[in-house]
């Protein structure tokens, strides 16, 4: 006879920090709600061995100008709101988004080169259109990132925005702006535990508390390096749970951005019939990337398709079933 088998539970000594995005009027901002992520004391959704006080959340990525390079499926699904960032934010909130991830795409030197003043106005309009906390991304070019994110940080002082991205070559200006105006930062490192740790340390050396940092381990979409992101997230989460205090930060992944860059979603021309229906394949490309990264340990999923919001939230709700 088999002896009674005890359910195998790991004893983790670490805990992921809780990070709160957004600030209500009472807290010095104007948000209707705040969103807290992190706080877990076990691996993803293993409710039998630890606490997961905050479910992962879904942020919706919107651009400050009509997206021209996106897969046509996305603007078709969103409709005319993609021409107006405020209407877009509002629509995303109606569809159940937990956070709005505003990308200041038009500030890119090759995609409009709009100014810091324009960025201020955009952020003001989005703050007025939605009650949700905001993530704000620069255009991804160091000089312009600094220029517009500093302006945005001032314009939205006290709102606890998450400003992204801080990278090893460009973080000081953004961190200083976050420090001065009560915001958070996103620290992005290239799929590597040690580089993630190093960047967190560099940022916290500037006196930004660790509970104002989100880690972006760099996302690979399904079929385009997903396994690297999957494993680095698992390793980061294990490091956090075994007590590495500089890695006990919630993680954000850009599943939408990456999945919708894949050839499988961008086009249906000249692709094999075996790839199946373009629209459904594309939606699943994004939501499956998101699902796999949730299972690995992501805390914030940045998504693009309007239907992805409901789908990913339903997956999260089912995985949170049984939380204590």
């Amino acid at each position: 006879m088999v002896e009674t088998i005890a359910i195998p539970k790991e004893t983790w000594t670490g805990r992921v920090r809780e990070v709160t995005l957004g600030a209500t009027a009472a807290q010095g901002g104007t948000r209707g709600t705040t969103v807290t992520v992190g706080g877990e004391t076990t691996l993803p959704f293993l409710h039998f061995e630890g606490a997961i006080p905050h479910r992962p959340v879904v942020a919706v990525e919107i651009l400050d100008q009509e997206p021209k390079e996106w897969s046509p499926i996305l603007p078709q699904a969103w409709g005319p709101v993609v021409k107006d960032v405020a209407a877009w934010a509002k629509k995303a909130e109606e569809l159940g988004a937990d956070l709005i991830a505003l990308s200041l795409d038009s500030a890119h030197p090759e995609r409009g080169n709009t100014t810091a003043k324009d960025a201020r106005a955009t952020v003001r309009r989005v703050l007025q259109a939605t009650t949700l906390p905001l993530i704000v991304y620069g255009p991804g070019q160091a000089e312009k990132d600094n220029e517009v994110l500093v302006a945005v940080a001032e314009e939205a002082a006290g709102e606890r925005l998450a400003l992204g991205n801080c990278e090893d070559k460009n973080y000081r200006t953004i961190v200083a702006a976050a420090l001065a105006n009560n915001h958070l930062v996103i620290a992005r490192s290239p799929i590597d535990v040690n580089l993630a740790k190093q960047l967190n340390i560099l940022i916290s050396d500037m006196r930004l508390e660790l509970d104002r940092i989100l880690m972006d381990p760099t996302t690979g979409a399904l079929g385009y390096g997903l396994e690297y992101t999957y494993s680095v997230i698992e390793r980061l989460k294990l490091a956090a749970l075994t007590g590495d205090t500089t890695l006990q930060l919630p993680m954000i992944v850009t599943a939408g951005y990456e999945a919708w860059r894949a050839k499988e979603t961008r086009t249906n021309e000249g692709v094999p019939a075996e790839w199946g229906d373009w629209e459904r394949r594309s939606r699943l490309w994004e939501t499956m990337t998101a699902t796999a990264l949730l299972e690995a340990g992501a805390n914030i999923i940045v998504a693009r398709h309007p239907q992805a919001i409901g789908t990913i939230k339903r997956v999260i709700a089912k995985l949170m079933d049984g939380a204590r």
């Binding site: 799929i191 079929g223 999957y230 294990l238 499988e264 199946g276 699943l284 499956m288 089912k318």
Partner: protein, 449 residues
């Protein structure tokens, strides 16, 4: 985890004869415990010790084979909980479920569609692994007929049902084809185990969510001689499945509990509200520990993403898929066509090659040996530096085929351009885009002069 080095040492001759190649029996025992040597290296080991050590060194999760020949599906023999610890070895089999209540012609059409479906990704052909034929009110003859139809198409078969007499007809039809019989329960296990043994089938054991009850049942069945088992822990949802599959994997691998050391079979369609959710729950099972995944909806639009995910998760982290270093022609390049260089990580190659192709501008693509790493990773590891790129230029036929001296490097490693110009005297180094998707725009501005 098997026996400790000391426990193994006690079973060895303790003569320190060194014939195994190690200085002492203890050193040899330590290597055995780490599974770095075979016991057969010791010429003097007793039969008794051999039996004890064989039992202890059996893989913690039994290898189960369904089907035969080239289409057989092998599942099990896993050794870790996280792929980064080593790798996941045997990817889960995808089986599509078909009820025997489907009319013969419709069933034939579905079976052909499933058997025929193949899709290529990074040079590897992917497809369905088999079908699960479920007795749903059909009689013995109908079930047997469906099994024959599947086998005629070369598909490995899982036979599902409650009625042993009907299932036996299916087993007869699948004899010699190593089917999987689903399922033995606390009520019918003796009959099912006898059937599985009689027809050379492996046997799924279904529990009701209780690990202890499941382990007791599997142990009883194994004790009767049916040892090729597969477990259905009996839960169907997201969180409960994740919990119990994690617990079973930990028990098998970390606690060496033999009674649960078998692959797991799952049915994501039974835990999902619609076909999209089925695909996503199947994704959870690919990542977290299923051996056989039985799907209810066949649609390339959901199956292709799932096959891609399985390929990703089961890629050996120590051995990324690589392409051979060399000078590749995209389109029909002339000596005046652009020359681009990148690494031999397969995804890097395919991303760059497909964008160059999309640009419509024939080009030379030089693939440097970066030990299969992507551009940034290789650069950080010193595997994609000026020296390696220069070596690729000088040894891979570039000088013979390309008539100009301009080379485009990935934008992510723009910092290399100075060093590279030093390493390649007379060459001009151009910094390309950071992202492959911007290559077409870049190439349109390129000129050899």
């Amino acid at each position: 985890m098997g026996l400790s080095g000391l426990a193994i040492y006690k079973l060895l001759p303790k003569t320190n004869c060194k014939e195994c190649g190690f200085p002492t029996c203890l050193a040899f025992a330590m290597k055995l415990a780490a599974r770095q040597v075979e016991l057969s290296a010791c010429p003097y080991v007793s039969e008794e010790a051999k039996a004890a050590l064989d039992a202890a060194s059996a893989p913690p999760i039994r290898l189960i084979t369904v089907g035969t020949d080239t289409r057989k599906v092998e599942v099990g023999n896993e050794t870790v909980l996280f792929r980064h610890e080593k790798t996941f070895y045997h990817q889960p089999g995808f089986f599509f479920r078909l009820g025997d209540d489907e009319p013969a012609e419709a069933a034939q059409k579905k079976l052909e569609e499933i058997a025929r479906y193949r899709v290529e990704r990074v040079g590897i052909s992917l497809g369905a692994d088999g079908v699960a034929i479920q007795n749903k009110g059909g009689d013995a003859a109908v079930l047997a007929e469906r099994v024959r139809q599947a086998i005629a198409l070369g598909l490995p078969v899982i036979l599902m049902g409650e009625n042993p007499a009907i299932l036996e007809a299916g087993l007869k039809a699948a004899q010699g084809k190593a089917p999987l019989l689903y399922a033995a329960t606390a009520q019918n296990w003796e009959t099912m185990a006898a059937l599985a043994q009689k027809y050379g089938a492996s046997l799924a054991v279904r529990g009701d969510g209780d690990i202890n009850a499941l382990a007791q049942l599997s142990e009883k069945i194994a004790g009767q001689g049916a040892q090729d088992l597969v477990l259905d822990p009996g839960v169907r949802g997201w969180a409960d499945s994740l919990a119990i599959l994690t617990q079973l994997r930990r028990l098998a691998i970390k606690k060496n509990v033999r009674a649960v050391g078998y692959p797991i079979i799952v049915f994501p369609g039974e835990g999902a509200q619609d076909a999209d959710e089925e695909a996503l729950l199947a994704a959870q099972f690919v990542a977290k520990y299923a051996g056989f995944i039985v799907l209810d909806h066949f649609d390339p639009a959901s199956f292709y993403p799932l096959l891609t995910l399985r390929q990703n998760i089961y890629t050996d982290p120590q051995k990324p898929i690589q392409v051979s270093p060399g000078l590749y022609e995209i389109g029909k390049p002339t000596p005046q066509s652009p020359l681009l260089v990148t690494t031999n990580f397969s995804l890097t190659y395919f991303s760059v090659a497909s964008e160059v192709e999309a640009s419509g501008i024939p080009s030379w693509l030089l693939i440097a040996d970066a030990e299969g790493m992507s551009v940034l990773t290789a650069w950080a590891a010193g595997k994609f530096d000026a020296e390696r790129i220069a070596k690729a230029v000088n040894t891979m036929g570039v000088l013979e085929k390309v008539g100009h001296k301009k080379i485009v490097i990935p934008g992510l490693v723009s910092g290399l351009s100075g060093e590279l110009e030093e390493a390649l005297p007379g060459w001009q180094v151009l910094v390309g885009p950071r992202e492959a998707m911007n290559i077409p725009a870049f190439l349109k501005q390129w000129s050899p002069n």
